[in-house]
Amino acid sequence: MSHATGSGGRMTPVGVGPRLLIDTEEVAPGVTKVNLRGRLDANGVQTISTTFDRVARTQVQLIVDLSRVSFIASTGLRTLISAARAVASREGHMVFLGPEPSVESVLITSGTDAVVPIYQDLVEAICAVSMGGVDDDDRPATSLPFSLQIDRSMRGVARAGAWVDELAILLNLSHRTEYALRLCLEEAVTNLVTHARPVPGLDAEKVGLRLIAEPGQLCLTLQDQCEEYNPLQSGYVGAAQDVSGEGGLGIGLLRQHARDVTWSRVGPANRLTLTIPR
């Protein structure tokens, strides 16, 4: 899949010939990753500008891999920002992947990261460009394998269970991980079905699910547009006390099977995120 589109060949040592190499690869359907290698200074920008501009003008889901960029100058920043604008002008998304700390700090102090988000993980980057950004995306696309929109109903709970079946095969999950994912989803969605209250004028009948699979863990996010409701506030009640369905047995189980369970209110949305070890 990878094909060199730049000057090709081996990377020239810095200082001998200040060159910047560029190649592109398709890392997911419709998602292009541009790999830059070398110094993103005035000379480097010259060598890649034609190729980079062409990519930015033709792609709408673009990941710019900076992991092998050792230096970035203001010319380089301008090139990256103008590429991001070209992508955004066609309703596309561009993100940076894996910059070294020195490069990342330049991106942050210059405010470039406000225009182009930075990710350290490729899967997260793919999700971000595919779905329009992890932070401001209220309705994940249903067509992507790692996101799903379900009805806030018992039928939705069943659909979430079927999604776990698919994910278990797709991600080759261990029984333990599959169990934890199934339990967390079932408890969290059931909780929304039972306790969340709609806000007039907002679509409260949907729940957006997103799963980001990392090598060591699964990151699960549930988002709805109901009234502000933090499920984690219900105290854990053991089985002996909770038989009515009103207590926190389900959320207690969820906490036992996940780590880093957090709830936040993001604009009109409730967002529950948790990670499951794999």
């Binding site: 018992m154 709970v157 069943a158 269970g161 029984h175 333990r176 169990y179 199934r182 339990l183 079932e186 408890e187 059931t190 053991g238 089985a239 002996a240 909770d242 038989v243 369905g245 047995l249 389900g250 207690g252 189980l253 036992q256």
Partner: protein, 112 residues
Amino acid sequence: MRLETEEVAPGVTKANLTGRLDIGGSQEIDLAFNVLAGSQRALIVDLSQVDFIASLGLRLLIVGARTVQRKGGRMILLRPPIAVEAVLVSSGTDNVVGILRNLDEAIHAVSG
């Protein structure tokens, strides 16, 4: 989700559950299981073919056990798979209804 019953000793009924005790599965057998718990005094619930349980499934078992116990009867859970047993224990369900791995012991336990 399937629920089948058999008499494993005089007056001792074993309920064999097969499938996932998730929300859908729990709802499918909810009525039949409650009827069973309401009519038996010595009940063994065989969980060996249950590969998943969440809070609604736990409630089903807990309510069933309480129903049996209120009549002076006894209920035992038999042979849950490891993952299911972990949830039974971590939720404290095993404080309400005992777990055994051997059928003869279970028959003895519920026969009183």
